[in-house]
Amino acid sequence: MNLAEKVKSKFPNLVQETLEQNGDQVVVVRKDAIKSLASSLKTDPEFQFNLLTDLTAVDYLHWEEKEIRFEVIYNLFSLTKNHRLFIKARVPETDPTIDSVAPLWPAANWYEREVWDMFGIRFKGHPDLKRILMYEGFDGHPLRKDYPYNKRQPLIGSMN
């Protein structure tokens, strides 16, 4: 039994499906399950995911086979167990919010600010959710697929 299936058998009501992509173990969850699953995976003696190595998001706007627009992707690693797991949480366009994991892993603080800045996904419970790459007064979220690539910003003006 691989790692993703172990996670699913231990938390059957939190995990929706498991995938194995190019040797990476992936579990897919609904967005309201992320907080309890993340805290369980961090403290569970079998998994001990004590390191969040990455947190990012994908916009699947033009993918017809994807019903839900956004996926927030958590890249977890266990330094003690030496195993890695990806969690994909599906976030709909109508309610782009998800629970923050910054209280669990402080590394998530800036990652979540970046995902908010680029994709406009709000993280509930984040200590200071503000833009990190773009400036205050920036209009829109530039990595959304419906952001016009040549859009001009109000503070910058038509020349740029």
Partner: protein, 157 residues
Amino acid sequence: MGEVKLEKFNFMTTTLNDAIGWARKFSIFQYPFVTACCGMEYMATACAHYDVDRFGAGFPRFSPRQSDVLFVVGTISHKMAPVLKKVYEQMCEPKWVVAFGVCTCTGGFYDNYATVMGIDTIIPVDVYIPGCPPRPENVLDGLMKLQEKIQNQKQEI
């Protein structure tokens, strides 16, 4: 006391404007504002093989108040734009600006949420050096065009 022969003395005549221009064009203290990959080509130009010191420009100053020419080398983003403008405003007159590479000239192949579409939307530019990145020969050509411009302009004192 015989007749004074003028050709015994080595001298030349010029105008003050030309003399100052000649002095200024061979003492370019440059401020390298290097932000991106063009910086590699800038370094190649500044090193011994191409010997930018032949043009009196071999002395980069990292203080805008002590420099004459602002070399803007590499892509300028919207967040960097206020910094570039402040550096330009800190430089003392007379000052010149060289746009090094297509990103500084026009934005290059970037047309997105982050990139300034040419630094001439922010500050005045004297010489544009196109190329992605420009070859050192191209940079030296731009430098000589800048010298020509400095020599021929009216010198503010």
